[in-house]
Symmetry: D2
Subunit: 96 residues, 4 copies
């Protein structure tokens, strides 16, 4: 099992990860990206895949041409854990 | 606009592309793959991305760790076109 | 066989593709990129791979951590062909 | 600095990593792969990139269409370290 985030950590989400939204009906974060085309979208997807393997924490994600949707949650925590916050921060740094 | 597949082409789906299923409520093909881990799944994803760019036809797809779901349809045909059948055949050849 | 570029096309290289250098002892173009880290370098590599598959023309290339070296030439032309100029232009557009 | 491999570790190379060759004039391991086409080669390249980021140890490598050459050495060790042996073992497992 992995520890869920604390109430204090949860209170920082809106300011620390303003680009991510909480998902209705699940304890998870979501962000959507729209790129100029598939080539740009898949370059981003590959960079996120490398981050995921480095963090040993993997997204639920989907792609349709230039659009990428990423949802982060931790199955072993039954919701958000610090792993999600760390990976979300690293993903944001790719397109800072 | 792109031409939808003909009734004759549609009749070949079950024998020509037996690994793909028709999606309920849409005119689209779906297949799921389960790999040993994320590394293997993402190697496959990258190979499909290269095929998609070569075919200039792109899937709707999602990934969760070792699982890859691909849905093929042609927006400009309002459903299945030969583009989907060609890309489906090329994807199948990757894991033949 | 593929046609080599003409003398007129060759005369445009320095202005049309100023980031590329002619390679000594071969009729080929070379460019080096240095990124912030491996993640950024491999995102670029993947985007070039997608372009190559779309163009059906492939680079000779190497990578060491944040550095990417790409050499373009056309074996079937015995040197530079329009395929190299088109792929070089498309690669430049990725980091324009 | 990273410790170089010991004489005992070096003595195991031929049996533990028989697919890799020692490089003349450098303390490094090399292997070449030849795939059916660029698509297959780049799928492999991507899987090795994911391993490299997971190991935080990166190859010197090159690709020409269906051919991939990988050289492993550790700059901070002045030659082979256990990092190279671990990454080489992980790469071999991809095509076992």
């Amino acid at each position: 099992m992995v520890a869920p985030i604390t109430a204090a950590e949860r209170a920082t989400l809106a300011t620390a990860l303003p680009r991510w939204s909480l998902v209705p009906d699940r304890d998870a974060l979501h962000q959507r990206w729209v790129f100029s085309d598939f080539n740009a979208a898949f370059g981003f997807i590959t960079r996120v895949a490398l981050l995921a393997e480095q963090h040993q924490h993997h997204p639920e994600w989907s792609n349709v041409w230039n659009r990428v949707d990423i949802t982060l949650t931790t199955h072993d925590a039954g919701g958000l854990s610090l792993r999600d916050l760390h990976l979300a921060t690293a993903i944001d740094a790719l397109t800072a």
